[in-house]
């Protein structure tokens, strides 16, 4: 916006081929005759040319990514809004149905159930993984030998395909022939009992994300000045007291950041659910919102309804992001090296 209004002073530096001809300091009696010929009119002309060249170069360089952003990030939002008012089964041509899909989805119990399932998932995952991550981070920042190796091990699941990890855990959770029941000596139907299915999916998610979450707390703990902690220690504060009265309050920005980003990613959980319960769990007990969206569009061929779900999810996530931006203007940097 501002750049478009008037040619900024340093605009010529963007000009590649003729760096000197367009330098604003050039005109005048001592102007470099070799390049600007000391002619104000000529100079103005070349400055204009420089601006045109910078414009062409700038837009030319961003063109491919601009196409990508416009076609695959912005256009889909328009298309999904349009699709939410169409009846489409993936095969025949879409037909306009107005707000009918919206009425159907909002009156559909299974949609609200999947919202509840998602909420339940978030409510289990977020507190547990945040507290566990905080605890592990606190243990790993005590400077004990082996901490670096432990940190690497704990992050490993976060790098791996959630789908593949879901499938491995699916086997571990098998009621007969699964490793977990053998280990515990039980016969729990981890994934086919409606009471256990969602907690099991949540447990796997927590298992795969705790190390990642702890990385941020470790970074947050690392920047707490050691003098503060030393001072408290000299005053006789116990490690527990130091943790709750000094570390936790100073970790507030990290805490807020971790909470918001993990809430946003929890609302989109899909791969782990698919790996563990390819049918969405007994009675839809693990059918989180992203899974419901997939199922509605690509298994029930009801793209209109699925698009409504997509729009609702989008609005929900944008709202959470806006809350994040309102309370979290300043960007934080973490040094985890």
């Amino acid at each position: 916006m501002t750049a478009a209004a008037k040619p900024p002073v340093d605009a010529p530096s963007a000009n590649a081929a003729t760096p000197r001809t367009s330098t604003p300091g050039a005109p005048g009696p001592t102007g470099n005759a070799k390049t600007s010929q000391g002619d104000p009119a000529n100079h103005a002309h070349s400055a204009k040319r420089a601006k045109v060249r910078a414009t062409v170069a700038g837009w030319g360089l961003v063109a491919p990514s601009l196409f990508g952003v416009a076609a695959f990030l912005l256009l889909p939002i328009v298309v999904v809004l349009w699709l939410s008012m169409q009846r489409w089964d993936l095969i025949s041509d879409p037909t306009w149905v107005g707000l009918q899909n919206w009425q159907r989805v909002l009156a559909d119990n299974s949609f609200w159930k999947s919202m509840l399932v998602t909420l339940g998932f978030v409510v289990i995952v977020i507190p547990v993984q945040t507290l566990l991550g905080l605890w592990i981070a606190n243990l790993l920042t005590k400077g004990l030998p082996g901490s670096a190796l432990m940190r690497v091990i704990y992050v490993l699941p976060w790098v791996c395909a959630p789908l593949a990890l879901g499938v491995v855990w699916n086997w571990i959770f098998q009621p007969t022939g699964g490793a977990l029941n053998e280990l515990l000596g039980t016969h729990v139907q981890w994934l086919s009992d409606p009471a256990f299915a969602l907690p099991s999916v949540a447990a796997v998610t927590i298992w795969s994300q705790v190390g990642y979450v702890s990385l941020f707390f470790m970074a947050g703990l690392a920047v707490i000045p050691s003098q503060v902690i030393e001072a408290a220690r000299i005053d006789g504060a116990s490690p527990t007291r130091i943790f709750w009265s000094i570390k936790i309050p100073l970790l507030r920005p990290t805490m807020f950041f971790v909470l918001v980003t993990s809430i946003i990613s929890s609302f989109q959980i899909f791969d782990t659910v698919y790996g563990l319960t390819p049918q969405g769990g007994p009675g839809g007990s693990t059918s989180v919102i992203a899974f419901k969206l997939y199922q509605t569009a690509f298994r029930n061929y009801d793209v209109g309804a699925a698009s409504v779900i997509a729009v609702i999810l989008f609005v929900l996530l944008v709202l959470i992001t806006l809350v994040q931006h309102t309370y979290f203007r300043k960007r934080m940097t973490y040094d985890l090296s």
Binding site: P19, L144, V159, D271
Partner: protein, 284 residues
């Protein structure tokens, strides 16, 4: 470092045992499923059925992998090739186009630049799950459903997030270096290739690794845009092995082992870069 040592020295022996007990138990819990996946993939179905699930695989067998590669139900060797091609082309195109855009945003002054950058930043809020249905419609309309190009198309033109990170990095490069090159008559291309890129190797390597991890693991888009074994990637093949070899867990674990192993190796080789890249990728 010194403060860490002080802390370490102050921990009482009993507390120390407790801390290590917690950390080692945690590490075993984290590694357990990986070890189980590899172990089970090397067992015969008979051994899995008759012995403890935690028993070591003996005699070792590769028959599960052979069946995966035989093309009997899924053609896993083809999936690996398709995935490698998909990841490779996405890394190259995404990096090239992101670098070009980031250079323009960081080093050129053109009308509309700031507004455009704001648009790029705002697209970071668009979740992948939301765009998946319209993308399916668009790619189908182009006649690219169940093709390699349909699979890679949405990811080829650069990512706003990579552009954002590269731009920050490019802006940190001293302007004097760029000015000196300009005075020597270097144009944008020369400046980008001879000055900016050599100085930006760490961030480019980091972005390459992130892109590799993200797309090797990508599941939802391949799941809907491809069908059948032809363009199936490793994640979708693993999912279909699970449904089609239902109950044959030794084969299923061979599939998950193949899906997990390359990333485990990548992680072991580059764990420092990955850990620090997690830091930069996650704050926005």
């Amino acid at each position: 470092m010194t403060s860490a040592n002080i802390t370490a020295n102050r921990v009482r022996p009993l507390t120390l045992v407790g801390i290590y007990a917690v950390l080692v138990t945690g590490a075993l819990l984290v590694l357990g499923p990986f070890i189980l996946s590899v172990m089970t993939s090397l067992k015969t179905p008979q051994q899995l059925a008759t012995e403890s699930k935690l028993a070591l695989p003996w005699p070792l067998t590769l028959e599960n992998f052979e069946r995966l590669f035989s093309g009997e139900i899924v053609d896993f060797s083809r999936s690996i090739l398709v995935t490698a091609g998909y990841v490779g082309i996405v890394i190259v195109c995404q990096l090239v186009f992101s670098i070009l855009a980031a250079y323009a945003f960081a080093r050129l002054n053109f009308p509309g630049r700031d507004a455009l950058f704001w648009v790029y930043l705002s697209t970071l809020m668009v979740p992948a799950v939301v765009t998946i249905i319209p993308l399916y419609l668009m790619v189908s309309e182009l006649g690219l459903r169940n093709t390699f190009w349909g699979l890679v198309l949405p990811y080829l033109f650069g990512s706003p997030y990579a552009i954002f990170l590269l731009r920050e990095y490019f802006r940190g490069i001293p302007q004097e270096l760029v000015d000196a090159a300009r005075i020597d008559g270097a144009g944008n291309w020369l400046i980008l290739i001879r000055i900016i890129l050599p100085l930006s190797r760490p961030i480019i390597a980091t972005l390459g690794i992130i892109t590799a991890v993200t797309h090797w693991n990508n599941f939802m888009w391949p799941l809907i845009i491809t069908s059948g074994p032809e363009w199936s990637v490793i994640t979708t093949s693993t999912a279909s092995v699970q449904t089609q070899f239902n109950g044959n867990w030794t084969i299923v674990m061979a599939a998950t082992t193949l899906a997990l192993l390359p990333l485990i190796l990548l992680f072991v080789a580059f764990n420092k870069q990955i850990v620090s890249s997690i830091a930069i990728t996650s704050f926005r």
